[in-house]
Symmetry: C2
Subunit: 262 residues, 2 copies
Amino acid sequence: MKRSIEDTSIVFIGAGNLATNLAVSLYKKGFRLVQVYSRTEESARMLAQAVEASYTTNISEVAADAQLYVVSLKDDAFLELLPRLVEGREKGLWVHTAGSISVNVWQRHAQRFGVFYPMQTFSKACLVDFHEIPIFVESNSEADTQFLKDIASALSTRVYECTSEERQSLHLAAVFACNFTNHMYALASRLLTKYNLPFEVMLPLIDETARKVHTMNPQAAQTGPAVRYDRQIIDKHLAMLADEPEMQQIYCLLSESIHKYS
Amino acid sequence: MKRSIEDTSIVFIGAGNLATNLAVSLYKKGFRLVQVYSRTEESARMLAQAVEASYTTNISEVAADAQLYVVSLKDDAFLELLPRLVEGREKGLWVHTAGSISVNVWQRHAQRFGVFYPMQTFSKACLVDFHEIPIFVESNSEADTQFLKDIASALSTRVYECTSEERQSLHLAAVFACNFTNHMYALASRLLTKYNLPFEVMLPLIDETARKVHTMNPQAAQTGPAVRYDRQIIDKHLAMLADEPEMQQIYCLLSESIHKYS
């Protein structure tokens, strides 16, 4: 009897935001999550319970017979653990989920290795649907690349093979499109709190700003004082930020940048 | 026979992004748009045609008997035209749509005046539904404030009375939440173009980043290298931006700011 892709036995190394979202999504699609490792016992237990797996906080107890090991750790923790991770578990396929780490990091450690990078912002408190999330895969063999594509395709309709260099470029762009964008929301929220105004009032504007770039390119979509180079408003805003020198500096730099690219 | 609010005769002074979106929305709700003024004949004609109104490029030809005049011009153009706008048309209610200009700008010019500020990013090419757009109104009389609220309520479920000071604070926060956010998309797009990658691949991430702050506060929603203060990735990204000194500066400043607020 032919085994289906969902029978793949999977171990998660790491139980953070990305690991939690990915493991739960795989579990919901019927994949067999066998074990979760995390240095933090509570994180390990929480995720293991959610996906009906066992858990450990001890690297030496990580199962040796899994078919797929998904390593989703902070970059520095990953590089530190790497030498001890694969030893004795060389039959499995080892993938990391980092946007910024080359696939070559596995060289000299693993025999079968790759990358499984879902490009999204993940929080444990806010589990996402993977259906439209782009997943970028890469590995050191054609067979394993196909294997990773099959797994990714069980989760998402947007599965791409890409090189480490392309992935690193995507990750840098994602920092702008996601992390820096979210920080703009955070700074708006900070101002509104100061003025006793509710952040909720910004949501239609935030949604429309995101919606617009589905049909217009962001440069064409730009509005507001900086793109019009309305010096009167810009100066008034800088004066309003007089007690927030850092926000003032951000306001200046971004307004100049908008004006320059417009 | 009692007249309904939609019978209000309205003149638009200005035919830009905001004026176009607001006029078309009022028209669709059955309001009577009588005339459009713009210095640019094509803009005046385009909007006038869309809302079945007449148009002019000559201030002296602006109708004298309208009940409501909506002035939606760039701030400097508004302040320049202001002395000639109201003269001979004092019976009407005059409102501007600017986030950053005090209601007091009308003093010594108009007898009945106010502000009608829909807080949204508007493009002519992308007409929006006003239903959820917050509209902030203000005027120099209770009766006219109620009149503006009634008009706003015909368009949107989110109508608020607010002071000029509050409106200016909202506008400053909106520059962060919208214009600066859109610029982050533009910078991401610029990087992707450089790397021959399609911008579309960012859309699920952009959407999720916006969606998350509906249920989490932006500070709690933050992810990525800056909030983890992952120095290895930050340094790699700065090296990748070596030929884009301005983006490098933005990357540094925003990463520090994220780290500081986290």
